[in-house]
Structure formats: structure tokens, C-alpha cells
Symmetry: D3
Subunit: 192 residues, 6 copies
Amino acid sequence: MKLNELLERLNNLKRIPRTGWLLCNIPLGEVEDVAQHTFDVAAITLLLADELGRTGTKLNRERALSMAVVHDWAEASIGDFPYTALKHLGPAGTKKNIEEKALGDILRGLPNKEKYMGLWREYSEKHTVEAKLVHASDYLSMLVQAVKYHERGHRSRELDELWAAVEKDLQPYTEEFPQIKGLVAELRKLFR
Amino acid sequence: MKLNELLERLNNLKRIPRTGWLLCNIPLGEVEDVAQHTFDVAAITLLLADELGRTGTKLNRERALSMAVVHDWAEASIGDFPYTALKHLGPAGTKKNIEEKALGDILRGLPNKEKYMGLWREYSEKHTVEAKLVHASDYLSMLVQAVKYHERGHRSRELDELWAAVEKDLQPYTEEFPQIKGLVAELRKLFR
Amino acid sequence: MKLNELLERLNNLKRIPRTGWLLCNIPLGEVEDVAQHTFDVAAITLLLADELGRTGTKLNRERALSMAVVHDWAEASIGDFPYTALKHLGPAGTKKNIEEKALGDILRGLPNKEKYMGLWREYSEKHTVEAKLVHASDYLSMLVQAVKYHERGHRSRELDELWAAVEKDLQPYTEEFPQIKGLVAELRKLFR
Amino acid sequence: MKLNELLERLNNLKRIPRTGWLLCNIPLGEVEDVAQHTFDVAAITLLLADELGRTGTKLNRERALSMAVVHDWAEASIGDFPYTALKHLGPAGTKKNIEEKALGDILRGLPNKEKYMGLWREYSEKHTVEAKLVHASDYLSMLVQAVKYHERGHRSRELDELWAAVEKDLQPYTEEFPQIKGLVAELRKLFR
Amino acid sequence: MKLNELLERLNNLKRIPRTGWLLCNIPLGEVEDVAQHTFDVAAITLLLADELGRTGTKLNRERALSMAVVHDWAEASIGDFPYTALKHLGPAGTKKNIEEKALGDILRGLPNKEKYMGLWREYSEKHTVEAKLVHASDYLSMLVQAVKYHERGHRSRELDELWAAVEKDLQPYTEEFPQIKGLVAELRKLFR
Amino acid sequence: MKLNELLERLNNLKRIPRTGWLLCNIPLGEVEDVAQHTFDVAAITLLLADELGRTGTKLNRERALSMAVVHDWAEASIGDFPYTALKHLGPAGTKKNIEEKALGDILRGLPNKEKYMGLWREYSEKHTVEAKLVHASDYLSMLVQAVKYHERGHRSRELDELWAAVEKDLQPYTEEFPQIKGLVAELRKLFR
């Protein structure tokens, strides 16, 4: 795929809605898309990386930022599987396989393809501190967005369940990065 | 799931975009959703069933209509997998398995659950004349919608490829139901 | 009108907003359209028909489903008169006359035209059990949609009045079909 | 109706789509609404009134502007009847009757009610130079908007027919106000 | 600029969002645009001018209405500066200078250019009773719109602050026109 | 400003439209917002940084990526000045001053504030290779988006002028980074 084709393909992310919100009764006219979400994740990654750096955590900012930018590129060709679809996808790892194939397909022929495949694999394996940071940022971005939907009046069992699930998924990362506990607490106050 | 919960769940279909169009550069503000699409399929099924009936084909209209109404209910919980995701999903039949599980989940506890599961299975197996009619209607609805997007100025390689793929998928059904050949020809004239 | 012209005309229903919601302050970006509404009515008709069948009511499912699919086709050419316009339309029956002429116009030249005219007339006369079922489904679909708007934070005198009017219009049908009383009660709990 | 209630009611015009465009395949996400349209008509009325004044036509600008602002208020309660509905409405004058009753209803209890009823009647009777000017502005606003839709790629038989109908309806006014002939010619060049 | 070019330029106002709402978390899919806002201001100016006239205030309705229609034309080329940008714009009068230049640019070559420049200057200088009336109408339109957003469930610190700021800016005009005090009080009840 | 407040403020960027497109007749329902745009710029910066790195240019990827993420944060409080407003803003440097103050305001109290101010200043001064790369990416993202609008049928003098202006602004960067010449040429073919 030539660079212009890749850029056109990534443009799709401006039109791929984050399906989780749709299932919480958010209308298409105000649903977050994957490009907007990725902006959020990159901005939070940058802010947290600097904050963690300031308070002593060692990490590679370049890799963390690159991972944030790349983490959802596969969705440009396969869309965003809703949370509720995952349990029907089959054995653990199925989603990861699908996304890896899709990403490989999008990047085929690109000289630096393997770098991006590597960043994406690192992200999905969640072992390095940079991958953990991007996952934490991903979840935090959902809390912020949920607060904004809450401010617009949205209330539903589904939205409450999504919040609870995200808080639970965040748990290991608030232990890893205790600096974000205060932020989660502030957001929780705004959502309740 | 109680009936009110099922109805609320089906309401999701008004917010699930048909992903194929999004990948053809159709913006979220004018993308067809699954509820609109299902209306189209039901209306075309009704019109074709009567036309086929008039010209001698025997079929069970009640079953055909019910199948049209039910055929995409699973998407209320798993969304609409884009065409381009299918090749990464794994062995043939994977998509069918996922959808069947999702539909079973949505309908659990409903006294008439097995009737709808049966209609959906009949639809996905494509053996009966009713199932074939609904598939033909499904493809025809895409041609009509593509014509309307074309009228709004949309032109892209992706849209052309989608059209070609749909015409190809329609092929066995135009042989089965030669009465629709004229309709396809008219629509093709409007798209070119 | 050739079949492709009829299908293009019916495509309008994806762009005709249900005016009642607009007058309740629902923005154009999240208003239900007539195609989405018709999907709802067909799905509810199917579910109720089976439920009534299971509990002993005799009815013709094919006719009920066909009526549900057809009931708002006239709006493809005349749009959706808001509730508040009806009292200014003149003598009772005026709206029915307008819709009948519009439908006749849309269907002119279609071999099965009279079948659809007949289904629509049966629907608007509300005498048969099938017509009553479709009317009940039409009103129930409004309650479900109102619940979803309520979940998004919408509150207004107009929305409350619309709910009350729909509940009142449903009354004769909950007497006809006591099986739906529980459903209405559940929805009312979610709206209040 | 108290003044705050009237203002809330007029706010509906920001949500009432101009149905004619919807029938030309313009999606809800980019359809003009009645408030936007009224802004156009008022602006064109102001510009033309001054231009006509400069070239010798005598007219009462205050009355013309007031008429432009008021001309579609009735639509806040009855919506915008599509062009294609008019022929089914019954005897000539039916639409005028409906709108007059609706406007009376909206304005009931307002001390200056009769002034606005009078302006609206003057507008619909098309006898005075001011009423003719507002009608000319109404049609010109449609040509400008059609040009903008054309620039976005919209092409359809319906849009061409709408343009032709508007040009025909404009005819008597271009004779009355020859100063606008050049403007119509410029717009026609942009639409073709 | 020829008249058709000016009309095309003013058409931009249908696409320029009122930025203040965006900063209150109102999504693009339901944000008021400048054309809709101008309709509101013109309608309120008309209604208040007549009400003031009835209760003894002398004013020139033609000039007030013309001013209302013209007051935001500059935004067709420079957009709507958000409230929060003003404090960074530099010395008092900077915004006025920018708008005046932009308006001059839009109107260049128009025979009646100076009339509109004069109306706009009168509006921004706020000395005449007509200019004060249009400013009062401008603020009142924001209160009405805020009430409608409130009805849709929107609640935020930013929206509360905007309301408070508008009420404060309205103060001198409620003293000038005590007839509007009741209206403000009614709207406040709906917002709280 | 606490971190949660900063994140809520940055969320505004999902609602701030890129005004340049609005002035090219792109409707609000399909206009790019600043968050989507920033995603594009970050992705292009990443891809080009790696491509330049591969072909021998030395640059600091971390700083380039951080700059891309930060470059439009000020718009969260002042919105996006349209191109056509700049000439009315006063002496060169006015826009930069406004943005710098706005950014300082958003970041006040943040421990790492000076780092982001520094990145933003480096970006606006365009001296370093990283700043030049982000500017090139910014312009390239506009070409890609223009191609996508073109695919949807948008054609206008304004869009052509925007393209020409962007190509001209890109000129110094295609000289600096000859590796992007091919990309620009490919995109130009798609736009013409």
C-alpha cells in the first residue's frame, strides 16, 4: 500500500464510531469516533508520561506516544467490535488475531511496516511500562468521555455498567501508576 | 430477557451504522443504519414476493416477511462487521457462529425464541426459496442505496468495488428469480 | 411507476423525520425517521402476533406483517403531518383522504397496487384484529422510543403530553389484547 | 400564549426541515431548516428592498421585513407540507386555511396578534408590492440553496424539477421587479 | 461583490456554529448556527418592538429589524469568536475592528454598502434605542436557547456560567425596557 | 487547572469544527473537527518521521510527536479562526499572541506547563526540523481530507482556492523534505 493509500485508509477512523457508546443509547449524531478517541489517548499518554517522569517513573516517551497513535489503526479496516461481541468471538486471542491480520494488511508494502506491527504487538501484550501507560490512557479517555455524556443528560443502566467495567479494567493500572488515583476519583465525582 | 428489554435492545439497530458505507467514505451524518436497512429489505421482500406470486412462483409470504424482519437482529448486540473484516475472522462459518450465539443471547427466555432462531438459521443457510428471496432483497436494497449515494455525488473506487461485489453476489438469485433482472438493469443505469 | 422508481421513492422514508418528536424538542440529529419507525412497528407486530398466537388469539400473521410494512408508505410523498396539525386539517377523514390519494399516486401502474391499497385501507379502518394489532404496535413503538429519549435526558411538557396521548390511544388495544398490559406497565416505569 | 411560550414555540423552526429538499435526496444531516430559511428570506428582502428603493420602486421596508420574519411561523406547529402533498390537500385555499388556523392558535392571547395575522394574510394574498417582494425573496433563497447543494455534488431528477418549478413560480416576480433578472441568470449559471 | 456572491457568502451563516454552546458541551449535531440565531433575534426584535410600541416607547421598527438581520453578517467570513477568546484578543475594540473590516470586505462594491455598515456600527455602539433593543433581543434569544438545551438534559458548570453572564449583560436593558422583566423571570424559572 | 479539568477542556476539540471547510460549503454534519485533525497530524508525523529517518534525516521523534499532539490545544478555548479572518486580525503575530495566551490559560497550574508552552512555541516558530515536519504533516492532512471531500462530490471555487493555498504553503517543506513530493503528486491526481 502506498503512503497516500494508507493515509486515505486511516481517514476511515474519522467515520468509525466507538460502538460501546452506541449500545449505551448515544445517538450517531454525537457518538465519539476512533480518530477523536485516538487523539484523546495520545494527549493523555503525553500528559501522564510527563507526570510519571516528573515523579520518578522511567519510560520511553517516544515509544509510548507512537503506540498511542497506532493502537487502533486496525479498526480502519475491521471497525470497532463492541464489547458485547467479544464473548461470542471464540477462544481468547481471537480478537487479537483478527486485528493483527487486519493491521498487517493495511501496512503491507510499507518499508517501516514491522516497526508498527511491533508497537501494536507490544500494546496488546501489556507487558512493558509504555504499553501499560497507553492502556491506562485508553481507559481514562473513556471515563472523561462518559463524564461528558453524563453532563448532556445521558443516564442508563448500560452506561453505568460500562463505567463500572472500565473502572475495573483500570484497577491494575492504578496500582502500577498510583499517580492517577486522584484523577479517577475526580472523574468519578463528576459521573455520580 | 423480558419483552420490554428485547424492544429496547432492538432499538439499538437505529444507531448501528452499516459499516460497508462508512468504508466507502460515506460520513456518519448520512450513513444508513440497520433499522433503515431492515425496513428496505422487508419492503422489497413484500413487493417481490407478490410479484413472484403473480408470475407463478410458490412461496410462503409470512415466513419470508418474518425472516426479513429478523435477519439482522443479532447486530443489536454485535454491530455490523464490515465486509473487509470477514476474511480475517477465521474459518468459514465463524461469522455465522458469532451471530447465532449473539441472537440466542438476545432472545434468551422468550417463549417463542426457537421460532426466531429457526427463521434466522433458515435465512443464513440460503436453501429455501424464502431465504433466497430475502437474500435477493438484501442485495437489491444495497443497490438502491448505492444509487442514492451516487445521486449525492459520492464517487470512489471503494463504492465501485462494493457495487461490483453486490452484483456478483446477486447473480445466483437473478438466475433463481429472473423477474428481477430488469430491476437490476434499471438500477445499474442509474449508478453508472 | 416502475419498481425501481417505487424503491427510490420509499428510500425517502429514511429522510422523513417523525414530526411529533421534533415538536418535543428532539434535535434533527437524533430524530427518529419513518423507515426506522416502520422497522420497529414490523418487529413489534411480529413479536406480538406470535405472543398472541401462543395465548390463543387467532390472526393472519402474513396480513398483519404486510400491513405493518406498508402503513406509512404514503409519507414518502407527503411527509409526516405533526399531531398538532391534525386539528386544523378540517373534517374528520381529511388526513385519510390525503394519504389514500398519495399512496395511490406512488403505486400507480404497479400490478399489485390494489393489494397494498387494500392493506392500507384495512389498517386505517381499524376493524380487523390484524389492523388493531398493527395500531397497538405503532403506539408501543412510540413508548419505547420515548423511553430511549428519556434515557438521554430529554424532559419537557410536550414529551409528557405526547406520552399521555399515546397511552390514551393505546387504551382500546390493551383491552383488546390484555397480554400487552404488562409491557406498557414496564415501559411506564422506565419513563417516569 | 405568553411571550416566553411563543418564543419556545418559534424555537421549533430550528428543527423543522424544509421538506422539499428531503424529497430531493438531501440527507437530514444537511437539510435546511425553517429558521435558516427565514433568515435567508429576511436578508434577501432587506437587500432587494434597498436595491429596488435605489432604482425607484416605492415600498414600505418595515412591512416587507416584518412579513419576511413572520411568513413561516405557522410551521412551528404544523411543519412544512412538502410540495408533493399540496395536490392531495383538496380545494385551492386548503393549505392557506390550515396555516391561518395554526398561526391564530400560536398567537392566541398576544396583544398584537392581529398585526401578525394581517401581515401573514397580506403575504399569502400576494397583492401588495411588499408581499410580492417577500415571495420573490422566498423563491430566490431556494435558488441560492439549490446552488449550494449542487456544489456539494447533489444531482437528481427531483432537484432539477424543483429548480424548474421555482424558476416558473418566480416568473411573475421577475416581471414585476426586472432588477432581479440578472441575479437569477447568475444563479442559473452556477446550477447548470 | 455581486449580489449572488453576497448571497452565497451569507449562506455560510447556516454552517457557522455559535461557539459559546460548543464550549458548554453541546455537540455539533445539535449546536445552533448563526442563521438560526439571527432568525431568533429578528423575531424577538419584531415582537418586542411592537410590545414596546404598544406601551409607549418610541422607536423606528424598520431600523431595528434591519439591524437585527445584519448584526452577525461579518461572521460569514470570520466565524464566531467564542466568548473565552475575547479576553485574549487585545485592547477593547479589537473585536469591533476585526468585524468592521470583515463586513466591509463582504459588502465591497455593493451600492448600498454604507447603509449596512451604518446599521452595523449603530448596533455595536449601543447608543440608540433601536440598537439597545437588538442587543436585548440577542441576549433573550440566548436565554430561550439555553432553556431548550436544559430541556434536553444538558447540565454543566459552563452552561450555568453562560446563563449568569447573559443575565448580567441583559441588566442594563431590563432597566431600559422594564417590559421584558417578566419574560426573563419566566425563562429563569424554566432553566432552574 | 487540575488534570481532570484539562482533559475535560481538551474534550472540546471534538466539537470545534475546522472552519476552513465550513467556508468551502462543507456542512456541519460532515465537517472535520480539531481532534480528528490532530489525530491525522500525529499519524502523518509518525509515518514521515520514520520515513525521513530511514532515508537519512536526523530528527527527534519524541519532540515531533509531542508537538503534533499539542499544536492545536489553544483552540479548545478560542476555537479555530478561519483563514479568511487572519487578514483582519491586525499586525503579524497577533494570532500567535492570542493562541499563546489562551494556551497559557488552559495550562495554568500544571507542573509541566512550561514544557508544553515550549513545544507550542517551537511549533509556531518553524525553525527546527521537528517543527517543520509537523507543519508539513498539518498541510498534508488537509490535502488528504480535501481528497475525501472531493470523493463525496464537493466542488467549489473556495475548495479549489484552499487546495492551491495549501500547496503553496507546503512548498518550503517539500523542498526541505523532498521525500514527500511523490505523496503530494499522488494526492493532486486524486483531487483533480
